[in-house]
């Protein structure tokens, strides 16, 4: 079940200069489809099917793809609002995959993914994490590694919850309609003991100020605010936890265009002030182009291309990315761009096509595309593509 080999094949750059905050390794999330009288599982929705990417400290990664390609599921799974089917979620150099499992399952996970391999005599570490955990294993034995990984799980969970926060899409359902803003904002930090009750008003007020809402409004209920204001409150809620990473799932998609840029700019300002890292999920390429430093493109539960923003937008190598980009409206009419119209619909994630998932719609597909699934390869420095014929469109 657990694939411990990182699926990113590195050829150009072995070591990274930047510090990795989040590494998602071959993440898989299937949802069961049940039917019949006995509610048997008849099929699986392969919402996320082997996704790997990294997020460096201080950057903004844009996760982009058509509706239904699994972006939200990636976000929810890495937050463990869904349990992953398999794969690893590594935060700040520690494997966190087992954090939200019951203790016995967590132990089983560690045994399966690390211990069983470490006990093998000709074990070769495949990544940084392996090296680190193997060191602990050598020095402190099996018990030592288990203690390191699954000791104090509750403490680890809480730390994880502080480190990663989310801003949701729907400003209307993301705030509890029966709680005052003050309580909505103070709930998390109080539960974590980040500040005392007596400080709550002060801290909440300052956070509100920071997102551009008058502190005296903290006694109001969510429905007394506009959509943009609510989204700001949602941002303040995440901010108050002092997170390292904020996942923003279509955080501005539900807002008026005029308000969108205000909220986006606010988020970018906050990023500088608080040294935040963003994983920005959106189906809107122009927004992604504006905000992110690197981009991950998803199609049907898989990553098809990932690169620095500049590289990606200047030279998209995957036919799908290219097709997506051709659909962005260009402000400059001089620049004539050929619009690539994709044929057919996105296939169902229940029965994805054989070979390259994109081949039924790909304008440049060749026979091999329907047979062999292309792996994500580093085609140019820090530019990964999952295509047999990158750049051919």
């Amino acid at each position: 079940m657990m694939n411990t080999n990182s699926t990113i094949n590195r050829t150009f750059s072995e070591q990274k200069k930047q510090e990795v905050l989040l590494r998602i390794d071959n993440l898989v999330k299937y949802f069961p489809i049940r039917a019949g009288v006995f509610k048997r599982i008849v099929a699986w929705v392969k919402a996320v099917d082997g996704v790997s990417f990294e997020v460096y400290k201080g950057e903004t990664v844009g996760l982009v793809g058509e509706s239904g390609c699994g972006k939200t599921t990636v976000g929810m799974t890495l937050l463990r609002l869904y349990e992953p089917t398999s794969g690893r979620i590594i935060v700040d150099g520690e494997d966190t995959t087992h954090y939200f499992l019951p203790k016995w399952k967590a132990k089983r996970y560690v045994e399966k993914v690390y211990l069983s391999r470490f006990k093998n005599n000709n074990f070769q570490p495949v990544d940084e994490l392996d090296r680190k955990y193997f060191e602990i294993f050598k020095n402190n034995g099996e018990e030592g590694l288990l203690e390191y990984l699954i000791g104090d799980l509750e403490e680890k969970r809480l730390k994880f919850r502080r480190d990663i926060q989310i801003v949701f899409q729907d400003p209307y359902s993301s705030l509890n309609p029966r709680m005052r803003v003050k309580n909505i904002l103070a709930e998390g930090p109080l539960a974590h003991g980040l500040f005392r009750k007596s400080e709550a008003l002060d801290r909440v007020g300052r956070a509100l100020e920071e997102v551009g809402i008058h502190p005296t409004h903290m006694y109001r209920f969510p429905h007394e605010f506009s959509g943009g204001q609510r989204q700001r409150i949602g941002i303040a809620r995440a901010l108050l936890m002092n997170p390292k990473l904020i996942i923003a799932d279509e955080a501005v998609a539900a807002l008026d265009v005029s308000i969108r840029s205000q909220v986006i700019n606010l988020m970018m300002d906050l990023q500088k002030e608080h040294n935040l890292t963003y994983l920005f999920i959106s189906h809107d390429l122009s927004l992604i182009k504006y905000i992110s430093s690197r981009v991950v493109v998803m199609y049907l539960g898989k990553v098809v291309e990932t690169a620095k923003k500049k590289d990606l937008f200047e030279e998209p190598l995957h036919p799908y990315t290219k097709a997506l980009m051709s659909a962005i409206p260009v402000p400059n009419p001089e620049y004539k761009k050929q619009r690539i119209i994709l044929q057919g619909d996105v296939p169902s994630p229940v029965n994805p096509p054989k070979g390259c998932y994109f081949h039924p719609r790909c304008p440049v597909a060749k026979p091999i595309c329907s047979q062999e699934r292309p792996e994500l390869r580093e085609v140019k420095p820090e530019h990964y593509v999952a295509c047999h014929f990158p750049g051919s469109l």
Partner: protein, 309 residues
């Protein structure tokens, strides 16, 4: 910014409630019964006129809920000045009707509160955790639902023995399923709401997520349902007393008073409405009490949740 909406919303609902004539009737009836229950000792003094203390005054009853036997003739005696509702089995019907109000409130409120609380706990766990916990709890609920309520209560009272407290236990044991199902269905809806997911992402404990985020957004329909159930619960309890399973003989309970009456009606054939008062007064008290709750529940439902059937 406009004025805070929840309060104005609330006021709008209240206004709507007060414009509904059947709601007003319901609330006034209820208020009347509450007053009767509170002032029962003044309306029908709990004394036994047959027994005098050393000062020559009627003795106070040890237990005011046991109707004092005033005359030894068990045949119903028609209404008179001293006994405006008449007498049956040697006991004053007026006294029984007044003190029976307290019994009705006691049974109805206790059973409704406890069974609703049990239902909320079971339904919350079932809905929130889902999976096999949900599966098991819902199958148990189905089993409980597949036994007709009155019969289930009869079974339990035969096992536990007769008595008002046993009847109440039986009604709690077989009365929580409606609340459990309703709250579960509501939770299933609410738990996918983003504010619940946000609370999880904040690391809030399940218990507090249910308490602060889910229940406040799901509880109203359950409370309305509970108020609508009050009526039928009181009927069932009285029905069990009527069958001789609930309140003991001579207890100030509308159901057991009617139990006396039935024998007298069956005993007389084709004569006249000789014993009408023995049915009419306790019967009307019951009907009006149940009606009050039904009207209130119906009005609350109309105002707060038009979807609830």
């Amino acid at each position: 910014m406009s004025e805070p909406k929840p309060r104005s919303e609330f006021r709008r609902m209240m206004r709507k409630l007060l414009r509904n004539p059947s709601a007003i009737l319901g609330f006034s009836l209820l208020a009347f019964f509450v007053l009767v229950a509170i002032f029962a000792p003044y309306i029908a003094e709990p004394v036994n006129p047959q027994m005098l203390d050393e000062n020559g005054k009627p003795m106070r009853l040890d237990n005011p809920y046991i109707m004092p036997v005033i005359t030894w003739s068990s045949e119903p005696i028609p209404p008179s000045k001293e006994h405006p509702f008449g007498m049956i089995q040697g006991r004053d019907i007026f006294y029984g009707v007044v003190w029976g109000t307290r019994t009705a409130f006691y049974i109805g409120l206790t059973v409704t509160l406890i069974s609703t609380a049990v239902g909320i706990v079971i339904g919350s766990i079932s809905g929130y955790y889902g999976g096999w916990i949900d599966e098991i709890l819902m199958r148990i609920t189905d089993v409980f639902l597949s036994i007709p309520f009155l019969l289930a209560a009869m079974v339990l009272t035969t096992i536990l023995g007769n008595g008002l407290d046993k009847v109440m236990i039986a009604m709690v044991v077989f009365g929580w399923m409606g609340a459990a199902r309703l709250i579960r269905a509501n939770i299933l809806q609410v738990k996918e709401e983003q504010f619940v997911l946000a609370a999880k992402a904040l690391g809030i404990k399940d218990f507090f997520i249910i308490l602060r985020h889910i229940l406040p957004n799901t509880i109203f329909p359950v409370l309305i349902q509970a108020s609508m159930r009050m009526g039928s619960l009181v009927i069932t309890a009285a029905g069990l007393s009527f069958l001789g399973l609930g309140a003991p003989l001579g207890y100030a309970d509308w159901g057991s008073m009617l139990n006396f009456t039935r024998n007298w009606i069956l005993g007389t054939s084709g004569s006249s409405m000789t014993y009408w008062y023995a049915v009419f007064y306790p019967g009307m008290a019951m009907v009006l009490f149940v009606l009050a709750w039904n009207l209130v529940g119906d009005a609350l439902r109309d105002v707060f949740d038009p979807r609830l059937k």
